[in-house]
Symmetry: C2
Subunit: 369 residues, 2 copies
């Protein structure tokens, strides 16, 4: 009854796995990058996840290895597997979350709906794609991007001249005309069982998730069915274990196209901590331990999550937010506030979407810069 | 935004304070009795809470001291206060939770409804009380009792001859004829604000809480009002800070009598983790930090909590319980199972009380001896 889960990475995702681990009686240990990491309370080792000895020594203290982020090098992941460590998700699946070109190629191969895309190795090739797609396109570095980093909308190849190097092509995608962004989050056990939360609407600002509405308004029926089918197909065909988030565009001509993938708990699933019977963090733990899933229904008709960026560490703001919004749940990540830095989120729930959104935004506004 | 709360005692109550501390961004540190305590994940010191140097050194690392249990000696509490440590609840209030004779005397003085009682210093005095109350009575050691320990129902004073010593009288109470047991849990900030959860029904087996139904069936109206008034009066008159649980008898002649008090989160409030917008553990942290309270409404029409005793550590039982009851929330305390030992609890919620109770009992039954 006391299995041990090891999490590589000490960020807020590892931090938010700690409460459900405590509740389920799961021993959780974190390999953190630094002292005082977000998940410091569970850090058993502080070290470099790019150092194979550090990772292997950590892995030997746990029953299963999982992740706060997708940056652990494939060479280390494969070494862990060779040494008999249970790694979930495994290297083959994680490869598609680490390399956007590999992901695009695999999804196209599976016939899943994606934007037009190409791998381009030169400014000339990129300019060709741009010319064929209305004069603008989205260029992405295949590796290492997050929260809008490694993504540029360009009308000429020279705008990403600094990203080209001799060996590695870039990913270029058509600029999709979309009505809104959705996200389908699910969890998959190593034995195959899948549990899905309802598809949600994700509102981005400056390329970063700002708000999430669960479930996505007007999504019941075809939209929810297609989102679930696409995400299920990805989870099964890529052999995902744990939480998978599939970010989708709802296009102006009523298609759903896959934008990005994440093979870990995801910002678009944070609402589930307060809004669903089982949170994505609890479900991720169950998934990687191959335990039966909890129910994923909504506890409220509507949940709205609003991220808290930057802001002040003034405790009076904290008290004022609590006093003003006694129904809203606050979540802080133990990070030093800096302008624009994601330091927490808030979640409200209830019957009236306008009211729920007002309350979540009002609580978050107390912490704004 | 990052105050530090120190908890004396590393049991399950301290453990269950950790998740809301993580969520609110509160730094929580525990003075645990032993390595591997229930709250080990937050233990910053392992030491003896009866040693003033240990406690004082621990207290100097935090902003406020609170408790997992009520056993810290008054002499140490008073020393902390003299040294300028913020102790919540304070020694004056805790005295009434530590000494049942002092509690009975104070409640009688306040005109609050209590069973007939007396302090008895000899078998002869006790026999006098028994004779005047129908030939049977409840005898309690004034200090150190919990979960049915230190309580005996007797028909003759000789049955507690082993409890008498020269200096300390015993508490004797009439054997109340009651229909059921209720519990009113509230939290009070040091600045005076009070927040109450609905009164709950507590079902005891062998003197130990086995199940809790929230809210107590058929309690709306007078019963809920009286329970709230009594508990509020106790909190205010005893100067409680933090969570207060008031255990009540609903007598066969429709009175409410105060049975026991606890000045800390209490088993009868565990349902609030899953069943209320704000759990008793989060509210306790807010109270001792004098932060505004969260809402205490019910998230479901009915919540039922069932304790898990003893049982097996067989992980197959754990998986079977999860598979059978995906809607039920499981909470384990990281304690080695021993026959009869309280090792966790489960909570179910929903619209139909019969169904909710069935699901909670079914989940708990997987772990029974």
């Amino acid at each position: 009854m006391s299995p041990t889960v090891g999490v590589i990475g000490g960020g807020q995702l590892a931090r938010m796995m700690v409460p459900p681990a405590i509740e389920l009686g799961i021993d959780i240990r974190v390999l953190a990058e630094v002292d005082g990491a977000s998940a410091a309370i569970a850090a058993s080792v502080v070290g470099d996840y790019r150092d194979v000895k550090t990772v292997l020594a950590f892995a030997r203290t746990v029953d299963v290895i999982t992740f706060d982020h997708e940056h652990v090098p494939q060479s280390i992941l494969r070494c862990l597997v060779e040494e008999g460590v249970v790694v979930r998700p495994g290297p083959d699946a994680l490869h598609f979350a680490q390399d956007k070109l590999a992901m695009r190629a695999r999804l196209s191969e599976l016939g899943l709906p994606v934007p037009d895309w190409a791998a381009v190795a030169s400014i000339a090739e990129l300019d060709g794609f741009i010319a064929a797609h209305g004069g603008r396109a989205v260029v992405k570095t295949p590796r290492g991007g997050y929260d809008g980093k490694g993504v540029r909308v360009v009308s000429s190849g020279v705008e990403v001249a600094d990203w080209f190097d001799d060996d590695n092509p870039l990913l270029v995608e058509e600029l999709v005309s979309f009505r809104r962004e959705l996200s389908q989050v699910l969890a998959r056990r190593s034995s195959g069982e899948i549990a899905l939360w309802p598809v949600v609407e994700s509102i981005q600002r400056d390329g970063v998730c700002a708000e999430v509405i669960a479930p996505a308004p007007d999504s019941a029926g075809r939209l929810a069915d297609v989102a679930a089918e696409v995400a299920t197909s990805i989870a099964e065909n890529l052999g995902v274990t744990g939480v998978l988030a599939v970010e989708l565009f709802e296009t102006t001509d009523d298609r759903l196209l896959v934008n990005e993938l994440a093979m870990r708990p995801h910002n678009s699933g944070h609402w589930s901590i307060d809004g669903s019977t089982t949170s994505q963090f609890e479900q991720h733990l169950r998934a990687v331990l191959d335990l039966p899933f909890g129910a994923t229904g909504c506890r409220d008709r509507w949940s709205v999550m609003v991220n808290v960026f930057g802001g002040s560490a003034d405790p009076r703001r904290f008290a004022a937010a609590l006093a003003d919004q006694p129904e809203v749940k606050l979540h802080f990540y133990g990070k030093e506030p800096r302008p624009g830095r994601k330091v927490g989120h808030v979640t409200a729930g209830g019957h009236d979407l306008g009211d729920v959104m007002f309350r979540a935004r009002a609580a978050a506004a107390f912490f704004e810069d």
